[in-house]
């Protein structure tokens, strides 16, 4: 055993000597190089070319530093919107299916005051983008860098101006005939409904340039006979105990605690708790066809546009299954539609071509043809 170990260590020793010699030689070279280059880390990094900076430096600040010259009309914006934005955001920016609504909740009065009154209305559901955004530069920058969601940074400068203008037109901020440009964007800023709705007077900015560095909530570390909060104010109702799946399957199977078997009603005694755990299946079953399909649908984001049983943008999976399961060529047809996209069968909004592997498309097609069973 020991001779077995000696051989490689001897080899290491000799290579170590060689390495020392090399280090000395390299150190000499570095010294020579650093005499020419500036700073301690010669040879690391290089100057960026102006074209490289222009390609990546796309941010637009609230003072419009970084905003490219150009313009776009509300009318043009509507065209771009309906082609590239409406499938997720809705024709009027009102859709709540895929993202939170962009438009709604602002008034002509808000445009005057720069404060969105509905932010104080607790009965108003949610907060739209136009209720929040204080700066038009942010909208421009957001659309330019991150939209459309599946093909970001593909809009032209004119299209970004146009879509920004159209969005504000939908919100009643800009008139129908408006053409927005780098020249008049400051006037648009002066009409932003929530332009006066932000504060930096808080203690959560870790620098001296903004805020006040003071915590807003002060508690004390009382240790004995403290005044506790009075009552149990909120807990998860029993009907929701399984809303996050069976918690027994979300906890380790060994140790001081187990997860509760939430497939069963809440137990009222330790004996009932134990009985519920004893009733758990011995092991999770191997993934079924349905589980595989559901995982694939989630992974490929099919579920953003298709509900299980209901139409979102495109038809529900069980609706598709019902329509095609009788057809002899259902698998080939559906696999082709998944890969290649299509339009007209279920409505005007087209389904784009999908990039998933052939085998996965076929697996999904088979699952659909067999009735889309979960």
């Amino acid at each position: 055993m020991s001779s077995c170990l000696e051989f490689p260590s001897a080899a290491l020793r000799s290579s170590g000597l060689a390495a020392l010699t090399t280090v000395a030689a390299v150190a000499g070279l570095l010294f020579a190089a650093s005499a020419q280059a500036q700073g301690p880390y010669s040879g690391v990094g290089r100057a960026a070319t102006p074209q490289e900076v222009a390609a990546w430096d796309i941010d637009v600040r609230p003072d419009f530093k970084g905003l490219p010259a150009g313009s776009g009309s509300v009318v043009k914006g509507m065209e771009v919107w309906e082609a590239k934005c409406a499938s997720c955001h809705g024709i009027f920016g009102e859709s709540n299916e895929i993202f939170s609504p962009l438009v709604g909740g602002t008034t002509a009065q808000d445009i005057q005051t720069g404060r969105v009154a509905r932010l104080n209305d607790r009965s108003f559901p949610g907060r739209t983008t136009l209720m929040k955004a204080p700066t038009v530069s942010t909208l421009w920058d957001y659309i330019n860098r991150a939209m459309p969601w599946t093909a970001p940074k593909t809009l032209t400068v004119e299209e970004v101006y146009a879509v920004t203008a159209y969005l504000l037109n939908l919100g009643g901020v800009l008139p129908d005939d408006f053409v927005m440009s780098d020249k008049n964007i400051a006037q648009v800023q002066a009409r932003m409904p929530n332009r006066n709705g932000m504060t930096t007077e808080h203690g959560l900015w870790p620098g001296k340039s903004m805020g006040n560095e003071k915590p807003d909530v002060r508690a004390t570390a009382c240790m004995t006979n403290c005044a506790p909060e009075a009552k149990l104010a909120s807990f998860l109702p029993d009907f929701a105990r399984n809303a996050h799946g069976n918690l027994a399957e979300q906890n380790r199977l060994i140790g001081a605690q187990r997860g509760a078997n939430t497939d069963q009603p809440a137990p009222t005694s330790r004996a009932a708790t134990a009985a519920a755990l004893a009733a758990l299946p011995a092991a999770a079953a191997a993934p079924t066809e349905g589980k595989q399909a559901l995982a694939s649908l989630a992974k490929n984001n099919c579920t953003a546009c298709h509900g299980m049983d209901n139409k979102i943008v495109g038809p529900g999976f069980t609706e598709i299954a019902k329509k095609y399961s009788g057809r002899a060529d259902a698998v080939a047809y559906l696999a082709g539609r998944i890969k290649g996209g299509g339009q007209g069968v279920w409505g005007a909004i087209p389904m784009p071509a999908q990039t998933l592997p052939e085998a996965e498309a076929k697996m999904l097609a088979e699952w659909l043809a067999k009735g889309a069973v979960r």
Binding site: V44, G45, A48, V53, W56, I58, D59, R61, F99, V116, K132, T138, L139, Y142, R145, A146, K153, M198, T199, H202, L204, P206, K208, S209, P215, V217, R218, A219, N225, C226, P228, E229, A230, K231, L232, A233, S234, F235, L236, A243, H244, L247, E249, N251, R252, A256, R258, G259, A266, P267, S269, R270, A271, A272, T273, A274, L277, A278, A284, A304
Partner: protein
């Protein structure tokens, strides 16, 4: 607490037919009677301090039973004691035991409408110590994740105008990894962690209440070093913008002070290996103490500027709605917070007796100084033990000995950091920020251990 011989609180495995006749009758009776008022009753019992005694089947009162000659797991040698095991490199990258498959990061159903603009939560209830295994690190993507070829990844540093630095520069990953590095343990917490719980209890377990929290040893280059190479004008450039290379190209403004202090660095390493793709491979910003959105993933560019940027994730998202309708903008610091991870919501205790209460505490303003634990709903508190090392802007593990007497019990933890800041309770936090902030909820968490042994997420007020 008697440290020498704590009463047993360990669980009994639950084989079939382990209930005696009384136990079976109890189960059926309770199923028949229903339990509508149980929670209210359980809590009033706890408040009154009365220990409700449950007549548990005798088999549950102690674990590790012996009958006959002894435990068959001892008496009959198993296959792994009498056979040959697996060879080396059966798996070139080892995985957790197959018995650990329940320990997964998970989505909260219904929280988001797409899976690419979404969140997965770390299983805090199943983790030990302070380090999050890289495969269980929480995820937050704004436009999906990518596995980027590091040989083609570049970092650019420039200025909002040319006068804020001597030269704009480009670095390859080879070059960044050649430079002097630091390795530091830090927590990362999403600003929206616990955001679902502002108004009321909404989720069952600490995975979902607090699981947008992870902690790793990160390795990388201090940003100050690169700024010095570029000749940044620190007097005028007081703001720093990080930008990602992915579709959302997320940007956030951070203050130059955090760069000057040497704290901010560009990480390529995470827990001894490269960053995971879901966490920004090959390069991400590390901004200790600041909410996760500022730790830009797939980092492609850093800009120094003389004004903040009003980016999408600091003017439309990640803004905190306050009473009166104003939003807080550029809120960044994660204040002092803690949570008990075991026992915690959705878990069960099958027996009375000794348990170790264990949890995590952290502060974006420095080290955790103390953690106190209450087992009576906040009337009395005991100092917990802190497991070392206690590090700056890093998770700290705390533990406390506790014997469960079988009656309903409210467990809470309260952390204090080295600035003296004390974690507030729900009522104290809501008194200032109301319930619509979404972000920066660092209130004390309450878990109710019910008579049944099930632990429930509850809020007091």
């Amino acid at each position: 607490m008697d440290h020498t011989s704590p009463p047993s609180g360990r669980l009994l495995k639950a084989p079939e037919n382990f209930l005696d006749a009384d136990g079976v009758r109890t189960v059926f009776r309770e199923a028949r009677d229903g339990r509508r008022d149980f929670i209210r009753r359980a809590f009033t019992t706890a408040a009154a301090g009365a220990a409700a005694v449950v007549a548990a089947p005798r088999a549950l009162a102690q674990a590790n039973l012996v009958s006959g000659d002894g435990d068959p797991h001892i008496l009959n040698l198993p296959a792994h004691s009498t056979g040959l095991g697996l060879p080396v490199v059966t798996d070139g990258y080892g995985k957790p035991s197959k018995y650990e498959t329940n320990v997964q990061r998970r989505q909260s159903p219904g929280l988001t409408q797409t899976t690419q603009a979404s969140v997965s939560f770390s299983p805090l209830q199943s983790l030990f110590g302070i380090v999050t295994p890289s495969g269980l690190h929480f995820e937050r993507h704004h436009q999906g994740w990518w596995d980027i070829d590091p040989s083609q990844h570049r970092l650019m540093i420039n200025g909002s105008d040319g006068t804020l630095l001597k030269k704009s520069m480009v670095f390859t990953m080879d070059e960044l990894m050649r430079l002097p590095s630091v390795s530091r343990f830090h927590f990362i917490e999403c600003g929206a962690n616990t955001g679902m719980e502002w108004g009321n209890v909404a989720v069952p377990t600490c995975q979902y209440t607090h699981g947008m929290l992870s902690c790793s040893e990160f390795t990388g280059v201090p940003l100050k070093l690169l700024f010095d190479l570029c000749g940044v004008d620190y007097r005028r450039a007081r703001y720093v913008l990080g930008e990602g290379a992915d579709g959302s190209s997320l940007t956030r403004t951070i203050p130059m002070e955090l760069v000057e202090s040497g704290e901010v660095f560009l990480a390529y390493g995470q827990n001894g290996e490269m960053l995971r793709p879901e966490n920004g491979y090959p390069l991400r910003l590390v901004v200790p103490g600041v909410q996760g959105v500022s730790w830009v993933k797939y980092l492609r560019r850093i800009e120094v500027g003389d004004k903040p940027y009003g980016a999408k994730d600091e003017a439309i998202h990640y803004i905190d709605l306050m009473p009166g309708g104003l939003h807080r903008q550029y809120s960044s610091t994660q204040e002092c917070k803690s949570v008990i991870t075991t026992p915690s919501g959705g878990q069960v205790l099958l027996d009375k007796g000794y348990y170790q209460v264990s949890g995590l505490a952290w502060s974006g303003k420095g080290k955790v100084k103390t953690v106190d634990v209450s087992v009576d709903g906040g009337r009395n508190w005991r100092a917990a033990r802190l497991q070392g090392p206690v590090m700056d802007k890093c998770l700290t593990r705390f533990t406390l000995d506790w014997t469960w007497n079988g009656s309903p019990t409210l467990l809470q933890s309260r952390a204090t950091d080295e600035t003296g800041y004390v974690q507030p309770n729900t009522a104290q936090l809501r008194a200032v920020r109301d319930t619509r902030s979404i972000y920066h909820n660092h209130a004390i968490q309450s878990w109710l251990v019910q008579e049944s042994g099930e632990v429930k997420n509850v809020q007091l007020s």
